[in-house]
């Protein structure tokens, strides 16, 4: 189970996250929607301490970290229990697709090389890139790079996968294959927290949709309720804008 309590982040005095409380059940797929600059990405980045939260507590399984007191070891433990998929893929540019997926297994989890490689090859097959094992990121399409990015996150076996606008940097032609892969990850009951602007995808994949604005959760519920019967006028306005 994942629990976030009072998560707060300020940039230059302005609160980008305003005491966010959020619980995510094991296997739950939660999609965060909302206007740009409302703290959606910051929420994900704070959960992974890529941005250090100013206050709040993050609990992932047995690991519970208080933002104000978090030391280096706490942060590493939290990061190792989660996996992050970046908008711009964030693949290691000097390593092949296979090596990108193996890296965390070998360096962080200290698994034997042969075992890590076998697992990475299984994942390459799963993401449909078995033939690209030895390709470097620069020679892959955007869609392929993001699939490797997701594969790298899958390999870790994280309790929570964080997706930060995984299709926003992609040419439209590559969006479909990345969403397909995310569907198959979701089908394995992987706990996922996804920030996306793909509303149709959100409706289809989410167990719960969260609407954020101004660093707060304004409304949340099952997709049918959020998209078909929005209560808050801000959510109604937002949906009218994105569907227009």
């Amino acid at each position: 189970m994942i629990r976030i309590e009072g998560l707060t982040k300020r940039f230059d005095g302005t609160a980008v996250l305003n005491a966010i409380d959020l619980e995510i059940a094991k296997g739950e797929r939660v999609v965060v929607i909302g206007p740009s600059g409302t703290g959606k990405s910051t929420l994900l980045r704070c959960i992974n301490f890529l941005d250090r939260p100013d206050a709040g507590r993050i609990t992932v399984g047995d690991i519970s970290v208080d933002a104000t007191r978090a030391g280096r070891a706490d942060i590493l433990a939290l990061r190792r229990a989660t996996a992050f998929v970046f908008q711009n893929y964030g693949l290691f540019a000097h390593r092949t697709a296979l090596e990108n997926i193996m890296e965390a297994l070998v360096t962080v989890q200290k698994r034997p090389r042969a075992e890590a490689e076998a697992q990475a090859r299984r994942i390459l097959k799963e993401i449909g890139l078995a033939d690209k094992a030895d390709s470097y990121p620069a020679s892959l399409s955007g869609g392929q790079q993001q699939r490797v990015g997701i594969g790298r996150a899958m390999a870790i076996g994280a309790q929570l996968m964080l997706f930060d606008e995984p299709t926003s940097a992609l040419d439209p032609e590559w969006v479909g294959e990345v969403l397909d892969l995310m569907r198959s990850v979701a089908a394995q009951r992987q706990t996922m927290l996804i920030v996306t602007h793909e509303m149709r995808f959100a409706r289809e994949i989410a167990d719960r949709v969260i609407f954020m604005e101004g660093g707060r959760i304004v409304e949340q519920g099952p997709p049918a309720q959020i998209f078909d019967a929005p209560q808050d006028p801000r959510l109604q306005r937002f949906l009218a804008r994105v569907s227009a």
Partner: protein, 216 residues
């Protein structure tokens, strides 16, 4: 004149050994200095800045004289150091200061996404530097570092001034016996030139290798 060539060539191994030893030591020191400059450890940072400032701010020859002839007068344990060791140490410290700045710039130039990706999978700072940042910085820094190595090879000729018989010293002795000054120093110049040309070829091969991952 041709008789000079094998005599002076006989000192090529010494030149290459001094330059290689200094290069390896300087690289290690420069990476340490550069990483410190990136993370700015309090107190240490001021010392590193002072170190870089001094070794970039004074001529190599002056540094060599200061350490070989000067320092042993105040620190007697240094008298045991021979010219070759002193030259290697001097070259190491001098070039480490320059190389540290090159490496620091290359580290900072590694895209932010690479740092974040390394952090997100739970790497420690040391793992991140070793596995992700430094290998990518190396590619950017390599051409400049090879340039410094070239400079270093030529810099070994200053060991002559510390009483080391290297290529220059040998040429000087040969010339003094035969009065073939032009020939002797011409041979030295040509040998240096050939060594550096060989290194330039190696540099091209190295760059192709380091750029392998970035070919589209």
């Amino acid at each position: 004149m041709l008789g000079l060539v094998p005599v002076i060539l006989g000192y090529v191994p010494l030149t290459l050994a001094m330059a290689s030893a200094a290069m390896v030591l300087a690289l290690v020191l420069a990476v340490a200095l550069a990483v410190e400059r990136v993370f700015r450890v309090p107190v240490l940072d001021q010392l590193v800045l002072l170190f870089i400032s001094f070794f970039r701010g004074t001529p190599l020859l002056v540094q060599l004289f200061l350490f070989y002839y000067g320092l042993p007068q105040v620190m007697s344990f240094l008298t045991a150091i021979d010219g070759v060791t002193a030259a290697i140490m001097g070259l190491t410290l001098h070039f480490a200061a320059y190389m540290a700045e090159t490496i620091r710039a290359a580290i900072i130039g590694v895209d932010r996404s690479q740092w974040e990706a390394a952090q997100s999978i739970g790497m420690t700072q040391g793992q991140m530097m070793r596995r992700v940042i430094l290998p990518q910085a190396a590619r950017v820094a390599a051409p400049t570092l090879v340039n410094y190595f070239i400079d270093m090879i030529k810099g070994t000729s200053l060991a002559f001034t510390l009483g080391v018989t290297e290529m220059m010293g040998a040429a000087q002795k040969e010339a003094a016996g035969s009065f073939l000054y032009f020939e002797a120093f011409l041979v030295v110049a040509v040998i240096y030139w050939i060594m550096v040309e060989g290194l330039s070829q190696a540099q091209r091969a190295l760059e192709i290798r380091l750029n392998k991952a970035y070919a589209r």
